[in-house]
Symmetry: C2
Subunit: 574 residues, 2 copies
């Protein structure tokens, strides 16, 4: 009798596992069930459908040859049976059966399996506040919701949109609606800043300023208490501090793994949700596999369990599970997956943000004695005409100089991704030190990189800081010194060429000194004694050189990492 | 008495080492000598000066704040003494002196050092054929030569340019002159194809076709015998097979390390040139450091010595040497460098090419039982509007499944670089297997990557080939089968949707079968028995699925890796 593989969930992991399994074995009976209507779609593409970049919602569920990936497609082309509108109710792991319900008819029945695959995904977190059942209130967790929002846009029903939560989807949706439909978008979040677990304050402020270029307001540290409507449609969002108009409310507070069915069946789960799996992606029961959004994975750097709801992870897991339920790779046997480092990227309004590994805050939480430093450098040779200033921030363990993560922001998302992915690979397969990052051999040619590339520079700056030859402060720390200038006895020394630095020196003659690197040696004695000194230049490098020169005279100073370029990206004016 | 550091060579490594050393130690006496006129310039930027992308040649020797990096700059700003027009004649390593000649006055004198740095760079390889002293014959090894060529362009003196040699610079210069100045460029080379040690035949053909889009002819396997001129100016290039018009001839046959002075001093060198250095970048004499173009480095993958003349390597080496001659990093001591993997990239006419590690040919030479396979996949989500088809070719050791290298071609150079650099990092810091490459956690979002990204797909396709479930052939092998179709009993089965595949089926009714993946199961029995079958589709994936279906009926077949997309990129028409 043929082996029976049952797959619960048919969005990302399920279809991948099914197709892979079938390509390896033509005899296995593969059945995939899903409670929804649409299957095998690119959920992460929904913001780009709202923006109009993706014209037709069905493009998200089509192959690259524009064939709909519907149950017939899976049946006819992939030889995989699919039952939609079919909800899994419980798993009887000793009997190897799953009880399901046909949501159209209410009929309940059991399905027997030899190998079970859980690709149950995740669900949006929605707080149970008054008004959540009003019309035009939704998450963006399925195609129907995206379609409904776009329909409201197209019918000109919307002027104000409030997005509750500030994760990837929330920001992507805000950008889409503000850019394409010129809607007033407001993002409300509980945490003090955007993406607090993924980026530092420095890059977070750049992201906020980026969103601001489309008029998107970000309201932090506020709780939404209630939604109010008229005639059943939402009209207002009430927070702890204000009332906002909103004809559309979108919850984007993140997602939680759909692991209840696994938990009920007695499979080992994280107490906060998420199925635990071994390196073969087997749950605590060897004939039940799980992957994608419904599992927790070990973070390779922190050693902690992490929920990483990404379509990419689901696809990679899907292939491994497809192989393993088919009996393993024909040559090497069971395939393995060894954990995650937490790589991500997102396109914003003017630029993209990306990161991998730990931020300095997350590193500290994981027990590292960590520091981070941000750099600004062009993404290619400075003499090449098309170029963008890239921000990179590297997280390092102070004692061992081990690199723990890198995040960045740049107008050119592909160029940024090149640097982040390089670090991701280092983090995933080694324990890189600053020396490794300083020497990582990325491809070089002036139209695509610098001879001393920004990825290497980030390591070099961190090395200088840890070696005590560069006393860098973050952009926020510089701004704070500047704002407290009447009380803190600081003067601000601008190492940029005279043309750039003199403007502020004339505006603030008591505080701002124009002292270009060229000629700094000659004027160094003119720096008033008894004053604290904060350097700044365009990107940080000229001021670092001046700091070294000043240090030779015995004086300490601080230097604003990333210089004016970092200030500009956060919208700081002087 | 202050320590004396003498640096020979002031183009890339020298200035970097000098500036780094100075920042770490303000007391060391640093003297840098160079026989040329210009110092501290981005030599790799010269092709982009010829193309007009870089407007002013001096941009190549300026800081990003447009300050000329001339001897005065180094003296005044960096506190580094520079003597140009000063040629090093010999090293007396026991005496710690270098004999030099002032090329302006002919004066010879000795310079004493405590630590010597050799940044002598490399020189172009120029065959000693008749006519090489004619005017308008040069390499592009210094700014003066680039200036002379651009002057000839600007004065409309040129119509035909012959470039001898097919390395990076030769191709970049051909693109620059053909694109910006509409010159007829011909590239002549001895080897059978472009970049034979860096890319396979598959990507080599794509590069050739890319150059062809600007009318650049590539002539292979021909030797240049003589240059002929009129009134002292070059007019013709005579090869073993033809005579070509040429008012400008450029040698781009590669470079050789300038290691003669080291060899004469008894330092350990590779017999074919290149100073040998240890992990601290010390030569066989501990007080003589060397790096950049004048050294050979161990290739981490092959274990063999490699000459890697790259501005990026020179910069990384420069920082390490600058640190080490200053006595080491203040905290961690001597810095180290552990070898190279050979990463590179270049912008061509319509796209960019890039690679890292070994090609299949180089891997075989290094003793691996290697194979490679090429894939075509979009560089981001297929539903995202802006996207480019990316070619990647992965080299793998068959037995261990160790990944040995990756090369690629794509219109979006940044996106290509993201994938190549990721593999470079894996190769440099681990011994990745196909399983690792299949799972490498690159950042994902639809505007920047695919959920199953092309980098993972490359591993998966190679895995399928090695596991015997995918019988792929290279584009060239498919073309050969097609061209031999009257004799080899092959039929060609096109799995693309009917609209695409029927055109060729109608054109070649006896050979080309339109059998879209959808519905293939139903027509599989119509495939004539007794025929050999070669599949093709758009990118290789649909045909792979059909190949699996056919295999279930007991029939073998081959599938054209990369499909029609690979064909298009090599200019193959049917």
């Amino acid at each position: 009798m043929a082996k029976k593989v049952l797959i619960i969930g048919a969005v990302a992991l399920g279809p991948k596992a099914a197709a892979r399994c079938r390509r390896l074995d033509s005899n296995i009976e593969i059945l995939m069930i899903d409670q929804g209507n649409f299957i095998s779609y690119g959920g992460c593409g929904m913001p780009f459908y709202l923006s109009g970049e993706v014209d037709n919602v069905h493009a998200l569920r089509q192959t690259s040859a524009h064939v709909n990936r519907d149950p017939d497609f899976f049946n006819d082309v992939k030889n995989v049976e699919v039952r939609i509108h079919t909800k899994a109710l419980s798993i009887q792991k000793e009997d190897k059966t799953v009880s399901v319900e046909n949501l159209d008819t209410g009929e309940k029945y059991d399905i027997a399996y030899d190998e079970l695959v859980l690709g149950t995904g995740s669900s949006p977190i929605i707080p149970q506040i008054p008004g959540i059942n009003l019309q035009n209130v939704c998450a963006i967790s399925c195609l129907e919701e995206a379609m409904s929002i776009r329909e409201n846009c197209a019918k000109s029903k919307l002027e104000n949109v409030v997005i509750i939560g500030g994760g990837f989807t929330g920001m992507e949706v805000a950008v889409a609606l503000a850019d394409m439909w010129s809607l007033k978008c407001t993002l409300i979040k509980r945490s003090p800043r955007l993406l607090p677990s993924l980026i530092s304050e420095t890059i977070s402020e750049m992201v906020r300023h980026d969103l601001g270029s489309l008029g998107i307001d970000v309201i932090s540290e506020e709780e939404v208490l209630e939604l109010r409507g008229e005639n059943g449609e939402v009209k207002e969002v009430i927070t702890s501090k204000r009332t906002l108009k909103a004809e559309q409310v979108i919850f984007a507070m993140g997602v939680k793994p759909n692991s209840e069915i696994a938990q009920k069946a007695g499979l080992d789960c994280n107490p906060r949700g998420g199925i635990r799996v071994n390196e073969y992606l087997q749950s605590s029961h060897p004939h039940i596999y799980a992957g994608g959004d419904c599992v927790v994975m070990k973070n390779i750097i922190s050693g902690k369990e992490q929920h990483l709801p990404m379509g990419s992870l689901a696809n990679r897991h899907g292939r491994i599970i497809g192989t393993n339920v088919a009996g393993g790779n024909p040559v090497c046997g069971m395939e393995t997956f060894n954990g995650v480092v937490g790589s991500w990227c997102m396109k914003l309004a003017k630029g993209s943000a990306s990161g991998t590994g730990l931020t300095v805050d997350e590193a500290k939480k994981a027990g590292f004695d960590a520091m981070s430093v941000n750099v600004e450098q062009l993404d290619r040779a400075h003499f090449y005409p098309e170029k963008d200033m890239m921000t990179l921030e590297v997280t390092v363990d102070k004692k061992t100089r081990r690199v723990l993560g890198m995040q960045g922001y740049c107008a050119n998302g592909d160029a940024l991704k090149a640097r982040i992915d390089t670090v991701a690979a280092m983090l995933q397969f080694s324990k890189p030190t600053l020396n490794d990052l300083s020497n990582v051999e990325v491809a070089y040619s002036p139209p695509l990189a610098s001879a001393m590339d920004v990825i290497n520079t980030a390591a070099n700056v961190a090395d200088n800081v840890l070696s005590g030859v560069h006393n860098a402060i973050s952009p926020a720390q510089f701004v704070e010194l500047w704002e407290q200038r009447e009380n803190n006895n600081y003067i601000f020394v601008d190492s940029r060429p005279a043309k750039a630095s003199q403007i502020l020196a004339e505006k603030y003659p008591d505080y701002w000194y124009s002292m270009p690197l060229e000629g700094f040696d000659k004027v160094i004695s003119k720096l008033p004694q008894g004053k604290n000194i904060a350097f700044i230049c365009n990107s940080g490098t000229r001021a670092y050189e001046c700091q070294r020169k000043l240090k030779r005279t015995g004086r300490d100073s601080v230097n604003s990492a990333g210089g004016m370029q970092a200030m500009k990206k956060r919208g700081q004016e002087f």
